[in-house]
């Protein structure tokens, strides 16, 4: 089975230098566990130094599609991923736009099943089963047939440690490619974002009364003072059951 892993340099949160992205490393580790035929692909304008981390963390050979800055990588990636059985990538790149749209676009363009936010993949009969990470610790099992696209969650098991020997042995093969130009964006320094607030037409007096009635619009909670501990415990359990917070 042929697996392609898509990687992209992330921005280090402290130093701001390019480094390997967590989710992409997890995708690389998962692919190497599943198959021995793993191709690592990158598309974009980053130089070799930015991809060096992936070589040091276990990628033997990176195919790099060189595009001019500000061009769309989708068409170039689609053309090389046509015959690949399984495409793995990180759920979100830590650099570039980091919009998390690429796996969805690839699945749509290639007409394949998409398994988002995968923690683990395993084969059963003719299908591949994926363990999907959902918020609040829920894990869902999905099953799909090949060919498929899976985006790997950053919490999945990561790649091997950084090794200088692997960095020296690894190679990056460059190939020129073209892509449609993306619309220009204007970058600004980060600041506190201004939230949309509805204009209130009520009088000042009404606003003052609203402020007295409840601090920040939140009514005060229930306070239970009466009864012994057993009765109070029952109150808490009733509250948890009423709001479906426990399953018994």
């Amino acid at each position: 089975m042929k697996i392609a892993v898509l990687v992209a340099p992330a921005v280090h949160p402290v130093s701001g230098r390019p480094c390997a992205g967590e989710a992409d490393l997890a995708a690389l580790a998962l692919a190497q566990r599943l198959s021995s035929q793993v191709d690592v692909w990158y598309a974009g304008a980053a130089d070799d130094a930015a991809l060096a981390d992936y070589l040091a963390r276990g990628a033997d050979n990176i195919h790099s599609l060189s595009l001019s800055p500000g061009s769309d990588v989708l068409a170039a990636l689609c053309s090389v991923l046509q015959g690949v059985d399984m495409v793995l990538c990180g759920a979100r790149a830590g650099g570039g736009d980091g919009s998390g749209l690429l796996p969805y676009q690839l699945a749509e363009q290639l007409g394949r099943a998409l398994l988002p936010d995968v923690l683990d993949l395993s084969k059963s009969d003719q299908q591949w089963q994926a363990l999907q990470a959902l918020p609040k610790g829920v894990r869902r099992t999905l099953a799909a047939k090949l060919p498929l696209v899976a985006s790997v969650h950053a919490r999945a098991a990561s790649a091997v440690g950084w090794s200088y020997a692997r960095l020296q042995q690894g190679k990056i093969q460059r190939k020129a490619a073209t892509g449609a130009a993306l619309p220009q964006v204007v970058l600004e320094p980060a600041r506190r974002a201004r939230a949309l607030v509805a204009a209130s037409k009520v009088s000042g007096h009404a606003r003052m009364q609203g402020a007295i009635a409840g601090g920040e619009g939140k009514s005060a909670g229930i306070v239970v003072k009466q009864g012994d501990s057993v009765e109070k415990a029952q109150v808490v359990l009733d509250y948890l059951r009423q709001h479906q917070l426990v399953d018994f």
Partner: protein, 368 residues
Amino acid sequence: MDFSTQAIPRIDPRRPWVLGPSGLKRIVLGDDSGSRDAALLAHGPAHKPLRSSGPFSQRLLVVAHAERGQLDDAAREAIAAAAILAGKDGEVLALLYGMQDAAPEALAELAVDRALTVADPGYAPEQKLALLQQLLQQESPHTVLFADRGEDADLGRRLACRTRLSVVTDVVEIAADGVRRRQPGAGFSLRERAQLLLLARGVAEAKLPFVGKGERLQTTALSAISEQVQDLGSAASPASELALEEADLIVSAGNGVSNVPGFLALAEALGAAVGASRVAVDDGRFSRDKQVGATGKTVQASAYIALGISGAVQHLQGIKSCRHVIAVNLDAAAPMIKRADLSIIDDCQSFISAFEALVRRERKEKQQ
């Protein structure tokens, strides 16, 4: 002039009055009969005006998944953003999954004008996309808004790729000159307002001074659609095995908890993750990775049970996004009591043993 000898005319500010024949209030001096104005202390629920009664010439659509029949703050903010962006002639439409039981008043309170409420089919992206595409065709909204988290983020991205609508993800600010999104490592990036916006937290103030119409939206039923990917069911791993940030139910101990083994037994019985306040961690009762608050972890559990925690500002910061907070404390004036949705004024030791016994008994009864 000697004021002390003067008789000071004192006027009762709430003098009794009778309604005169002309319909005006008439105050009869020296008369005790008649009605008095109601005291201004008892506030009923404030009556909010309707945002706009129409006619509407354009529409915005918000898509949200409810959890346990209720929308979370991110989804409420998305609806609020739509209501603020709509203007006088804009109608706010909503496609709400898992809110089929919601009353029209609840929908109006959300500032939704017309809502299509559907039972959540679980994992069914193709079915949801078909319904959304039908809705887009029927209503042709100029903007579609999603909250950029969980199921909504997934569905929004699928819709953008399927319909080729222009999309901006992680929107942190909607302004007159466009939308701003967070760019990894590069601050904000300013873009043109797209047809489909995935909103990060804090884009709009969820509290609105108006209500919507709260009507129901009708569509024709769709035929069954086959899914590419099969759902084999989902399981929530016990909260005790999860990272604190991911847990849905947390019991947290503070200085008021001295019996740590008893507390841990309660957490195990409830199947809840264990948290602790800074004081309890500094004392060495809990490890550092259990600390909740500004210097520890920020949690987003549905239920947070704070045992013997007074609720310092730093701790309250860490539990800001918890839905239900239950506090057990001896001090009824503690800041945690003000934050909590349910407060129990009791000694923690006796409460913990009573609660643990109750939980174990109820669980046993459930299994039989």
